[in-house]
């Protein structure tokens, strides 16, 4: 019953999310677009985390997608093509990284992803003939797609990302990934080739983040190395799933909404100083890891399980206060 309610509610919410782009209210559209972008990268981060791959470099995929997207658009290609190229570029980077880090786990893997995004930033800075270097890269005025289309694609993209996550969670693929997270060696014994799974997971995660990066770059119309490979994406894409609920489907979505609204609130309440929202994000990260490692979803399921236990106790004959309870029980 409750599950069906949740399912129906989510579909309605998804429809409303797309419908929101049809109204023209710039600040709401902008907010919804930011939520959509974060949902995509957070879902992508979560897909990797589910396979035991903690990424500290999602801005690498994002930034490569942004550059490839803008460069493609500036050659006169339509929006769909540049986003596809961003998608492919992110996926390719994911595969390359998977090959390079084939044997690495945990800390080594995380530091590699961080190094990749920092290294790519330097490369973007040092190749001004292609990327415009420190001056940055503008989207040509005539290549600028209508804003409405971007917003619509953003919402649809977010829903697609979540749909992909849902489909993945039903496939044997999901269980193979989970086995890899828990014990890569044991998974190997059971016939899961970690290298192939890792390449697939990272191709998918990279492609999602790359597509989001290119769409976001089309929206902003300008990138430079520090905007494209900003640490912000890396930070938010990991905080959203952790706050919402690690390894769940709803987690990244919930977390994304909360994070964007929180960032917006601090911006409105305390001015444009980005420090404060980042400070709060850091605090959330510490708090979530220490006190609610399963996130909002975890708190919710725990509460539901408790309620169910309580109600079954009532139905099970004994009135709950028949026996005096021991203190502290």
């Amino acid at each position: 019953m409750a599950t069906q309610l949740i399912r129906g509610g989510s579909i309605l919410l998804a429809l409303a999310f797309v419908g929101l782009t049809l109204i023209s209210y710039p600040s709401i559209n902008d907010l919804a677009f930011r939520v959509a972008m974060l949902i995509i990268v957070a879902t992508s981060w979560n897909i990797m985390a589910n396979a035991g791959l903690v990424s500290l470099g999602h801005s690498a995929f994002w930034g490569v997608g942004a550059y490839v997207g803008l460069l493609t658009a500036n050659t006169g290609m339509p929006l769909g093509v540049s986003i596809t190229f961003g998608f492919l570029a992110g996926g390719l980077l994911g595969i390359l990284l998977a090959i390079a880090t084939a044997r690495l786990r945990g800390f080594f893997f995380a530091i590699c992803t961080l190094g990749l995004s920092e290294g790519l930033r330097v490369v973007a800075l040092m190749l001004p003939n292609i990327t415009g270097g420190a001056v940055g890269l503008f989207l040509a005025q005539e290549a600028r797609p209508p804003l409405k289309l971007i917003f619509l694609l953003g919402s649809i993209g977010a829903i697609l990302a979540v749909a992909i996550a849902i489909v993945l969670s039903r496939l044997p693929f999901h269980y193979a990934c989970r086995a890899m997270r828990n014990q890569e060696r044991a998974a190997q014994m059971l016939g899961v080739d970690p290298r192939i799974y890792r390449a697939r997971v990272m191709a998918l995660a990279g492609a999602l983040a790359g597509a989001a990066g290119s769409l976001n770059a089309m929206y902003g119309g300008y990138i430079d190395p520090s905007i494209a490979f900003t640490l912000r994406v890396t930070i938010e894409s990991q905080i959203a799933p952790i706050l919402g609920g690690l390894y769940t489907i709803a987690g990244p979505v919930l977390g994304s909404g909360v994070i964007v609204l929180l960032a917006e609130w601090t911006r409105l309440a305390f001015g444009a100083n980005e420090g404060l929202s980042q400070l709060i994000f850091g605090g959330i990260l510490v708090f979530a890891i220490l006190f609610m490692p399963l996130g909002i979803v975890g708190v919710w399921t725990k509460a539901r399980a408790r309620r169910r236990r309580d109600s079954s106790m009532v139905r099970g004959g004994d009135p709950p206060d028949a026996k005096p309870r021991r203190a502290g029980a």
Partner: protein
């Protein structure tokens, strides 16, 4: 090449500075096995402490160094007890994310309190230099190298002969055996972490008159520090020092001999890290593999 001697001197000085950056990180990784993303922030706070000490109280950074290091040790000890100890046995991912979040908090507190403006503590010796025929040695960097030598030697003596130093080596080698030998492991963990923080704070003091002080200086150093640790091998202090000098030489070579090499030098650390991880994940002398 006429600037070969200068290049060698520059590389040696840079290697000393990198040694400073990486030594505390190496201690905390080698003994407590905590992936410490706060280390960069400890360096940053040490640098600010030196800056404010000089600006407000007129204390020379080198005089302030022991005090700042002691403060760093105390704060590091408390942070470990309060925040990091609870996730010590949790999956490694949690440590990474927790310390990453903690670093974010500290970085942005600094940003809010002291803005993102670049600062520098300018004691008289910061701009001095010793000039020879073909070579010029900047005074500030020379001090950094001396400090690095003193710290590394002190650390080695402590690890070799000190009571707790020996205990911490035992702990690094085999935690269960250390517990059975009656070593107070929770205390020693926190103590080592405090020691690493003290080294970081001291590094910050020295960096305050070599580099620009910003809230984000620590993070850049941290990323480079991890690259050095991986190059040298996780958990080996000798390896870290070797890695620091190797990276310094690689970067200086690129900076001197590659067109627009100053910019590309920034990417050398990442390239070196990737190559190390692919060819030899345990680094030059590390015991821990990539698993």
């Amino acid at each position: 090449m006429s600037f070969l001697p200068q290049a060698i001197v520059d590389a040696l000085l840079l290697g000393g500075i990198y040694t400073l950056m990486v030594i505390g990180l190496s201690v905390s990784l080698g003994i407590t096995r905590v992936i410490n993303f706060v280390h960069g922030e400890a360096i940053m706070l040490g640098a600010y402490a030196a800056y404010w000490g000089l600006t407000l109280l007129k204390i020379d950074p080198l005089l302030a160094l022991p005090i700042v290091a002691l403060l760093g040790a105390v704060i590091g000890f408390l942070v470990f007890k309060g925040l990091i100890a609870p996730v010590l046995d949790a999956p490694q991912e949690n440590q990474i994310l927790l310390t990453f979040g903690l670093g974010l908090v500290l970085q942005n507190i600094a940003l809010i309190l002291w803005t993102g403006n670049e600062r520098s503590s300018n004691p008289p010796y910061a701009f001095s230099s010793f000039d020879f025929d073909t070579v010029s040695i900047p005074g500030g960097r020379l001090i950094a190298v001396c400090a690095a030598i003193i710290m590394v030697v002190a650390l080695f003596i402590w690890l070799k002969y000190g009571e707790w130093g020996r205990a911490s080596r035992a702990l690094a080698e085999n935690r269960d055996a250390a517990i059975l030998m009656g070593i107070n492991v929770p205390f020693l963990y926190a103590f080592t972490f405090g020691l690493a923080s003290a080294l970081a704070a001291a590094t910050g003091v020295i960096c305050s008159f070599i580099f620009a002080i910003t809230p984000f200086m620590g993070f850049d150093m941290l990323v480079k520090g991890f690259a050095i640790i991986i190059l040298g091998g996780l958990g080996s202090i000798v390896g870290s020092v070797a890695g620091a000098f190797l990276l310094a030489f690689a970067e200086t070579t690129v900076a001197y001999y590659v067109p627009s090499g100053n910019g590309w030098a920034e990417a050398v650390a990442f390239v070196v890290m990737f190559i190390t991880l692919i060819i030899r994940p345990r680094g030059i002398v590390g015991q821990v593999t990539g698993q």
